[in-house]
């Protein structure tokens, strides 16, 4: 009897600790994804402003790509961690970001010069 009581108490204690840890891990991971996507969004919005006034054909391709990146970031369902295409869409955003960096001739880790630290998530 004491054995099963002990087990139940231990299980309940473990569950509580598990939920707390799960919440921490989830928050950490969510924050990481949020920071990454937020970075891409800020980057894209800035370039949208910078390129807005350019009318030449080369720039119009760049603007189109930047706007496409903004679109795909804003369309992402941030409130739904059970979204079935979550990883797939995040990878699409990362790919789009890399493509935009390539068009703008910017290294995607923002490393310019060898002594600066690079951007990682």
């Amino acid at each position: 009897r004491f054995h099963s009581q002990g087990y139940q108490e231990g299980f309940a204690e473990g569950s509580r600790a598990g939920v707390a840890q799960g919440r921490r891990v989830g928050a950490l991971h969510g924050a990481r994804v949020g920071a990454e996507m937020g970075c891409y969004l800020g980057f894209a919005l800035t370039w949208h402003c910078l390129l807005r006034k350019c009318t030449d054909e080369k720039s119009s391709k760049k603007i189109k790509a930047v706007d496409s990146l903004i679109g795909v970031i804003q369309k992402f369902p941030y409130e739904d961690p059970t979204y079935d295409k979550l990883q797939e869409d995040l990878e699409k955003i990362r790919g789009k970001f890399k493509q935009v960096c390539s068009l703008l001739n910017i290294p995607s880790d923002f490393r310019i010069g060898t002594d600066r630290s690079s951007l990682t998530f």
Binding site: K61, E91, G95, K98, Q99, S102, L103
Partner: protein, 307 residues
């Protein structure tokens, strides 16, 4: 390294050209392009027009060289991959280039009339190192092979490149892929020692293969097991004769041909190989056909089925 293209391990692409027209005479090295890359050059590919050479390197870059009268000039360096570029391939139109890398991504580049290259898409569909990319012989359809055991297909849909099919079935790294001349079939080879043939089924096909919406489905229609005793690294599908050649870690090259009598809608069968398959091995050579063709195949061959 495939038979048609080769790269050197010293970080230098070599270009060889025939010395004279006398039959059986040798080759001369016409150019050494030693300054383009800082690490192993893994693959080279001629453009369809023959004026350009693309080189993919472990230094993470892909160089495009233009043939001049006195040699080759580097006209573009495509950067962006995070690490080793494993393969490069030109689309049949000559205006698109595809690269793939250990960074798990496939990049599609477009070249315009002014020889400017720009990245049109970065595709992160694979979950591991991508070993090989190859274009469909006549359409702008791209195939890639990966350490994640899959072959993926990509095409442009509504202004963006997407992964339109994933071919699952191999049990280990897929090292190479080759399209048949007509482009309705694809061959893949793997570390799992099998050569697989896949066929495209369009919506409304007469074999009754289900398709989702207006997209074609690719099904594995034939698996050749027991012929190779080690990893198969490369495959080439002859566009003239229809023969398939494989390059294997067991030091052999094998040539597979299709029987003209076994037509059906399963079109791949192996009756002859140029190298005798060793008879006393654990796995006797097998040809297996996908489930929906089972009845037809059974009458002709003793076959075993793979799920």
């Amino acid at each position: 390294l495939s038979g048609a293209e080769s790269g050197c391990g010293r970080g230098v692409p070599c270009v060889h050209q025939a010395l004279s027209h006398v039959a059986g005479s040798g080759w001369t090295c016409r150019a050494v392009l030693g300054d383009g890359h800082q690490r192993t050059v893994r693959r080279v590919a001629w453009s369809p027009c023959g004026s350009y050479l693309a080189s993919a390197s472990f230094d993470g870059t892909t160089c495009v060289w233009k043939r001049q009268d006195d040699g080759f000039e580097c006209v573009a360096t495509l950067e962006g991959h995070e690490n080793e570029v494993k393969s490069v391939a030109w689309a049949p139109s000559g205006s698109l280039l595809a690269t793939c890398s250990r960074d798990k991504s496939v990049w599609v580049w477009e070249v315009d009339e002014e020889e400017e290259y720009e990245c049109v898409s970065v595709l992160n569909a694979h979950t591991q190192d991508v070993k090989h990319v190859v274009w469909h012989p006549s359409q702008e359809l791209l195939a890639s092979a990966s350490y994640d055991d899959t072959v993926r297909l990509y095409q442009e849909e509504e202004d963006d490149w997407v992964c339109c099919a994933t071919l699952e079935g191999h049990e280990s790294t897929v090292w190479a892929v080759a399209f048949e001349k007509g482009g309705e079939r694809l061959a893949s080879v793997s570390d799992d020692r099998t050569l697989r043939i896949w066929r495209r089924y369009n919506p409304g096909n007469q074999e009754g293969v289900a398709c989702s919406g207006s997209d074609p489905t690719w099904k594995c229609v034939c698996t050749l097991s027991g012929y190779h005793s080690r990893t198969i690294y490369d495959v080439s599908w002859c566009h003239l004769t229809g023969a398939l050649a494989t390059a294997c870690g067991d030091d052999a090259i094998r040539v597979f041909e299709e029987s003209p009598t076994l037509t059906l809608h399963c079109s791949a069968s192996v009756l002859r190989t140029s190298v005798e398959a060793e008879p006393s091995r654990r796995n006797r050579p097998r040809v297996s056909f996908s489930r929906h063709m089972s009845l037809m195949a059974l009458a002709v061959f003793p076959v075993s089925f793979l799920e």
